[in-house]
Symmetry: C2
Subunit: 253 residues, 2 copies
């Protein structure tokens, strides 16, 4: 499970990860920034494959994924697995304002991860008057999450393997760009093809062939753990990719 260490996937542990992302959605006061930055200071490491939340477990404590990748998924009795969404560095999970809430899905780490307790943030956003910026930013974050879930449904329900693979790559590129992990054309994707296939609703074999087709068509390059976008615009056209807009104010992500 150390295959990603060399890629820097878990090497980067920036305390301002969350802050950087949230301040993109709302202006934060100095106090709010301090609160968000403080989260990452006391964090814990886990190897890949660690169960972070179990379906049905009570959601009493939100967490911040400081580094590494995780995902939420569900399985059928015979082993078929559907990954609902990826949790990327800077993402929050296990956050639900309502009391007595329980997790709708299991979540596991896909790479080695660093995780911080975000209960301070969870409490902060129950006081919107005191932390207006954090509250708004978290709400926007939640909307974005829904938007990504809808994208996922659109991919899996109505797009061909070719289209949906392109679409997912673009989405990951966008999300990672927001937290500064991807540049204009390069996306670190520390996923085995099996995991990617489970997210896309495809078999491993077919995903493999689809990736090769994308490569043959000069649309992407992929070496271990990295995807390079050779023709981002044409990819977006093929995938009908559009950045989600969830709010009227900011141009958004």
């Amino acid at each position: 499970m150390d295959r990603w260490r060399a890629l820097g996937v878990d090497a980067v542990t920036r305390a301002d990860l969350l802050t950087q992302r949230l301040s993109r959605f709302a202006s934060l006061s100095a106090e709010e920034i301090a609160l968000a930055n403080a989260l990452a200071t006391k964090s814990e490491d886990f190897p890949g494959g660690t169960e972070l939340i179990a379906e049905g477990q009570s959601l009493d404590m939100p967490h911040l994924l400081v580094s590494g990748w995780a995902c939420r998924f569900r399985m059928l009795p015979d082993g078929r697995r559907q990954i609902f969404e990826f949790i990327l560095p800077g993402d929050l999970y296990g956050l639900c304002l309502r009391p007595q809430a329980i997790a709708l899905t299991t979540a596991i780490s896909l790479t080695p991860v660093v995780i911080a307790d975000a209960s301070a943030l969870g409490e902060a956003i129950t006081q919107p008057e005191k932390y207006p910026g954090l509250t708004l930013a978290c709400q926007i974050t939640a909307s974005l999450e829904e938007a990504y879930l809808l994208n996922q449904l659109m991919r899996v329900g109505r797009q061909t393997a070719y289209e949906r693979t392109a679409h997912l790559i673009l989405e990951l590129h966008e999300r990672l760009s927001i937290v500064g992990f991807a540049d204009e054309t390069s996306v670190p994707i520390p996923l085995t093809q099996e995991i990617m296939a489970d997210a896309l609703g495809l078999s491993v074999v077919h995903l493999n062939r689809t990736l090769q087709q994308l490569r043959r068509n000069q649309l992407i390059e992929f070496k271990s753990g990295y995807v390079k976008l050779l023709q981002p615009d044409q990819l977006a056209e093929i995938a009908d990719f559009r950045s989600p807009r969830v709010t009227r104010r900011s141009a958004l992500a």
Copy 2:
């Protein structure tokens, strides 16, 4: 578009629809009940095919679907359509606490509908101290909506046509039961097979054959607008159907 009138789909307009559903999730005070019941008193009719919300439009006013069916969907440039979720009688839509929010998807009516302005409810739940029951019930409702979205993703991503069709029927049965529109074994489903296919990520032709297969196997009966569950337990087994649990308290729906 009048094919459903005879089925009573839009004939039933109960003022307590919403109340009945919400009180299942939290105990409501007399004042809260009055507020919820008052919504349905001034409502408006629209024919099937009416656009209720446009993607990108600002979400300033929540609505209550008093009667009839609607759905949220998105389309690809070439016309392929994915329905994300159905909006059933007693459901709220267009509700987002955050200011400046915009709709992530378009919503249209699938049958003639009766719609009420629910802004009073939207304002009520910004005062949790005053309306604790309504607030909690709405939050649980939102969680349930997410649960149904995840179900939808599971169906479309990893289940066969046969399984996913069974699963959707069971889910609709459950949701309609909560508002008293379905009995133990009978589900009114006022959808054309084309619409159902767009929800299931299938072609009309294949859905048609799948429905016939379910019928041949003595699992369901379907006449115009109604589905009868002949062997609910076996259906649930085939579909791996489980009622969503979103909260620790109530046994939930």
